[in-house]
């Protein structure tokens, strides 16, 4: 399968995690070992309450993985992470494409967007509480806002950078309506930017999730805050690592989808 091979070539050509290059793997492993070493040394010269030691954090992770606590918390967080990310991204892409394509939409919706955009997503937390209460929906709302803006701007710029010659060719080949031009030319050519937006949003959503769960919605972030209140810094650190792993997994997954869909690049 020619396209399979090309996808792999593309990935290794781009470098990064997926490469089989032994040197790269050695460098990456070395960097992680060095990171843990520096952390460990730092932990030895300070108190456990300031910087927990790697073995203590590892014990928490092992115990919570064994008891199913990690899985339970990840499950709870996914209940607002996934809907928030999907709804926010979907709306952001839709409105971004509209504003990028239509001058009228840019003048109207785009103007309103420029007013709302500088509002920090966390400033919406009071409204999230009033509108949705301390529920998954409230946390999802905050995540959706973050996802919305990232996808909105990527979609808008993706649509704006469509090669005008492609639109002209499409018209000469019988594509007459605006709707069809968008579907057949604008959207496919904006797919790389749409993917970039979604991938960025998926990462940012993990970060904002921790803050959104401050509301009191159960999940990894809530658990992390509760532990911090009892100065259980090893637990805090353990779940910071869990979030890091979730971030990486999500990113890998989306990147794999991206390489598959964008085999033509």
């Amino acid at each position: 399968m020619a396209s399979e091979t090309n996808t792999t070539d593309y990935l290794t050509g781009g470098g990064g995690f997926d490469t089989d290059d032994a040197r790269t793997v050695a460098l990456q492993a070395g960097a992680l070992v060095a990171f843990v070493a520096v952390w460990w040394v730092g932990a030895l010269v300070t108190s456990q309450n300031i910087l927990p030691r790697p073995p203590a954090v590892a014990r928490v992770l092992v115990a919570d993985l064994a008891s199913g606590q990690v899985i339970t918390l990840v499950g709870q967080s996914l209940r607002h992470y996934v809907p928030g990310l999907l709804v926010g991204s979907g709306l952001g892409m839709a409105v971004g494409v509209l504003v990028g394509w239509s001058q009228t939409a840019d003048n109207t919706v785009g103007t309103v967007a420029q007013f709302l955009r500088p509002v920090p997503p966390l400033a919406w937390i009071p409204f999230a509480v009033i509108w949705f209460g301390l529920t998954d929906a409230g946390a999802a709302f905050i995540i959706a806002i973050v996802a919305f803006w990232i996808n909105y701007y990527n979609a808008e710029s993706g649509v704006g950078s469509v090669d005008p010659a492609l639109l002209e060719v499409a018209q000469s080949l019988g594509t007459t309506t605006d709707r069809r031009l968008v579907r057949k030319v604008v959207l496919p050519s904006a797919v790389p930017e749409l993917f970039t937006g979604f991938r960025t949003a998926a990462g940012q959503a993990w970060m904002v999730m921790v803050a959104a769960e401050l509301l009191g919605v159960p999940g990894i972030g809530k658990h992390l805050w509760d532990a911090a209140n009892f100065l259980q810094m090893d637990v805090v650190m353990a779940y910071m690592l869990v979030i890091g792993v979730l971030f990486l997994l999500t990113d890998r997954l989306i990147k794999a989808g991206q390489s598959r869909v964008l085999a033509w690049r």
């Binding site: 020619a2 010659a165 060719v169 018209q171 000469s172 080949l173 019988g174 057949k184 050519s189 033509w264």
Partner: protein, 249 residues
């Protein structure tokens, strides 16, 4: 007569940053059905503007443009277009690009979409590259794909804007021979824009010579009588000299 391109007193003035800019003025010429006509002119002579007006991508500010006795109101599948930068859809394979127009307006009578795609690909010698993406192709192959895509919906007219300007000389010579054989086989009317005088003399039945901007038609010269053309023949050199005389001080 149908499917003739006719320009009468066509002019185009743009709103430039420092006032109006006149790109072409009083351009009049006609192309008969099945004819291969080339527009030559120095860069900035507005020949691409004339091309875009005929294609329906821009509107003339003066005069009338008719294709097949109908005024041009926009681009359409009766005029296939081939550009200098191939403008292939990068997310579609070669076959996918050729299929595009067929998805939009359907295959010509008595053909199927699949059959038409195969036919056009083999017409330009790209049958083996059907499943490749544009980025995997050489410049010459991309231009062939662009020609196949334009031919797919069987337009009576092919408009080509410097299609071979960015391919190497050897590929260009091959593409010239192939284009002529496609033209003879399909009986298309071809309007070809170039700044390469030898290319114009080699390909054309008639050569429309544009002046420097604001461009207008200074002469229409018949191509050499023989086909296939011999670039070393007396007639070829004479025609080339006649065209060149307009560009030398």
């Amino acid at each position: 007569m149908t499917d003739t391109i006719r320009l009468a007193g066509v002019g185009k003035t743009y709103d430039g940053e420092h006032g109006p800019v006149r790109a072409i003025r009083d351009v009049s010429f006609a192309v008969d059905p099945g004819e291969f006509v080339t527009v030559v002119g120095p860069s900035g002579s507005g020949k691409s503007t004339a091309f875009r007006i005929i294609a329906g991508l821009e509107t003339a500010t003066e005069g009338a443009v008719e294709v097949g006795d109908e005024p041009v109101t926009g681009p359409g599948p009766d005029r296939g277009m081939v550009f200098q930068d191939d403008a292939l859809f990068p997310w579609r394979t070669v076959a996918g690009n050729v299929r595009y127009g067929l998805e939009e307006v359907g295959p010509p009578p008595d053909t199927t979409v699949g059959g038409r795609v195969d036919h056009c690909l083999s017409l330009v010698g790209l049958a083996d590259a059907a499943d490749q993406y544009p980025r995997e192709l050489s410049g010459g192959m991309r231009q062939r794909a662009g020609i196949a895509r334009a031919l797919a919906v069987d337009p009576p007219i092919l408009l080509m804007d410097e299609p071979f300007a960015s391919v190497d000389a050897r590929t260009k010579a091959t593409l010239h021979r192939e284009l002529l054989s496609i033209w003879q086989e399909t009986q298309k009317t071809i309007l070809f824009v170039t700044h390469d005088i030898e290319e114009a003399v080699y390909l054309s039945d008639r050569i429309v010579v544009f002046s420097e901007g604001p461009g207008t038609v200074v002469d229409v010269i018949d191509g050499p009588p023989d086909r296939p053309r011999d670039k070393t023949s007396e007639a070829f050199r004479e025609t080339k000299g006649a065209v060149l005389s307009y560009f030398e001080e």
